[in-house]
Symmetry: C2
Subunit: 410 residues, 2 copies
């Protein structure tokens, strides 16, 4: 039997507890949706206003040089790199996830010109599937996109596979895939591996170098807290940077952007994957949000994440036995930083919980998702959230029509 | 002989003069580079902080619905529409100019599947040429991109031309093209017309409806003052919206984004051209910047723009006869909202002027560009700018090595 006092004791000894004050959270509300949109940090607000009030307002056009705007996509890339185990110069921050995937997919398919298959996961986030299909359709040769059951990957891999695109943590179930063994298998047939880190970056330790990952992309607005529609990031292993072509070339990716040359010649390194300049204001929001990682290691975050999700699962099983199917794997090595509970009334449950001050989200057809971000969540938050879930379930308030009528987003 | 007092008198009777106080400008500095990056408006700063402090910080993920984030690209599109003569529902704000051009070019080439030529202008901004070549290379059929001398367009047009992409105001010379007659000629051979409004939107009156324009795109950070790397906009004439396919499809362009369907089905109208969600913070900056257009008509802006550029040209000719070649056309109907002066020492001249508090910019090989934005520039600013140009030219300070050694951006 876990008591609230036990949770308070865990908070008292939590070495990450001081980070919470850097985030703007609403008193009494427990935010378990940082896996969808992370909250505002004080550093984000400060950095955005610095860009507006000083760099833009006073520096004006000169800030492209004097404030280093030209280099922001690579500078921020180098700030993200340690979170995924990349080397300096291997990560770029720009655009949004889908555009970045388009660049990587388009470029990767040209590196395997004699192959005709792209494999992805039928459970992948749907827009990953849209963009892989769109880029395959424009590859200049017949390509087949196979959206498979990922457990059958071994059977599907063969020497006609050009590229495999998988999301490392499943957005519905929170299951984490074994990046190293899968990448090895993909390489064994001569294919290239592209990982989507949307639900991984800032949530779980990643080692793209040790896992020999070719390409990766992730988004800035979930566990990185960069704000709604934040710029995203891509990783290109150093060995590919000289041969991977950006299929969406732009001004700032040119080797000499201010020579205004009619012929495109890519810049060296990750700069070639810049198309237009991303918004400096949007980059500033992410820049500020990344400050927290100067004070914490990914290993510390992971340890607390597992403790929080273990606690949540234990409490749910203890307090509401048999009420939910716990979809997220029990095994630590297969778990991201969220817990998904399946319930046929999931939609109403999530809405009722939001009204009770526990913000999670719902994914069709029956998944209640709860994200656990160790940077600002306390053990007592987990305890109190489960208390409120118990109240919602016991009262059956989730059946109320004001919770069951659907609107667009939760 | 024009006197400074004459300019003061013009300012005293200027019906736009009250708008200047809404912008953050540095005392003593004359900013003639709003054609490259517009300045900060108070409304921009206010709106960005409203999104951060209220919509994001308090609303968190709920703001996708409650603050209308899902609809921001189309809502802002409807704010831009009147500036280009478009109807509600024909403009979308998102991404950056090059990505938006990629979508329009990719989509347009599929509407003319039996044609093999794309025409653009060899004097076009170079990244327009890069992206048209990149999309033509992925059209699924052999395509030829012709970057022509635009004065030879008549000879180049034939029934194998799929698409013509021209920039309506030349970024170097400030020459404005006749949108109506060129669009007619392009349509006469059955080709489609795509206009780049990078140097037009907010600078000159545009009438996409009256000119029967098929597609257009423009950027948000020049005369629209949306900030460095601001989201851009596209226009798709209503009749094309049901058939033009977005070649870079994404989550938020789906007809039912929260049904998470594996098959892409485009939303109706401009929403289909959203890929990922743009940054809400970046959109907020542009949103605030657009407020000024609630208080001024494009016709008022045009009248003052021509008066300012006339004054500048007259003063340059009067005070520095024969020193510069005035590249920008004298005829009002051929002039945008900038004046370009050619001088072999142009680079050093621009740098020396910046030090003297007149911010223009330089474009290779010998163009000094001066942008005139009626929203915040006064007639005395034009007078004083020319005074300082006279000082720089007479002193020959532009020959000083600290002005002639090149750095990346001016």
């Amino acid at each position: 039997m876990i008591l609230r006092d036990d949770c308070s004791a865990l908070d008292a000894s939590d070495e990450l507890s001081s980070l919470r004050s850097g985030f703007r959270l609403t008193d009494g509300e427990i935010y378990l949706d940082g896996n969808s949109l992370g909250p505002v940090s004080e550093a984000t607000s400060r950095r955005v206003n610095e860009v507006i009030d000083t760099e833009w307002a006073r520096g004006l056009v000169r800030s492209w040089n004097s404030a280093g705007w030209m280099a922001e996509p690579t500078r921020l890339g180098d700030r993200v790199a340690p979170l995924i185990g990349a080397q300096p110069g291997e990560v770029l921050v720009a655009d949004t996830l889908t555009f970045l995937l388009a660049k990587l997919i388009g470029g990767a398919l040209e590196l395997r010109p004699d192959r005709h298959i792209v494999i992805t996961d039928v459970a992948n986030f749907h827009s990953d599937i849209y963009i892989v299909e769109a880029m395959a359709a424009r590859a200049g040769r017949p390509m087949t996109v196979k959206a498979i059951d990922r457990t059958t990957l071994d059977q599907e891999l063969n020497d006609d596979v050009a590229l495999v695109l998988l999301t490392q943590v499943d957005f519905r179930t929170g299951e984490m895939l074994d990046m190293k063994s899968i990448t090895q298998k993909v390489h064994a047939v001569g294919a290239l591996m592209l990982w989507d880190f949307a639900h991984s970056a800032g949530a779980v330790p990643l080692d793209v170098t040790g896992c020999d990952v070719d390409f990766a992309a992730g988004c800035g607005y979930k566990y990185l807290n960069g704000g709604p529609g934040s710029p995203a990031f891509i990783y290109v292993r150093t060995k590919w940077q000289s041969v991977l072509q950006n299929p969406l070339p732009g001004w700032l990716g040119h080797a000499r952007p201010f020579d205004f040359e009619l012929k495109y010649e890519p810049a060296k390194g990750m700069q070639a994957f810049v198309t237009s300049s991303p918004s400096m204001i949007a980059l500033a929001a992410l820049d500020g949000a990344l400050d927290v990682w100067d004070h914490v290691t990914m290993e510390q975050v992971r340890a607390k994440s597992l403790a929080l999700t273990d606690l949540f699962i234990d409490l749910i099983e203890d307090r509401l036995p048999g009420v939910f199917e716990i979809v997220t794997p029990r095994e630590h090595e297969k778990r991201g930083s969220q817990v998904a509970l399946r319930h046929i009334e999931g939609y109403g449950i999530v809405q009722a919980l939001i009204e009770r001050g526990v913000v999670g989200d719902f994914r069709d057809p029956d998944i209640c998702r709860f994200g656990f971000t160790p940077l600002y969540l306390r053990y007592i938050d987990v305890y109190d959230a489960v208390e409120r879930i118990v109240e919602v379930m016991n009262s059956e308030m989730y059946r109320d029509p004001r919770f069951t009528v659907r609107n667009a987003v939760t």
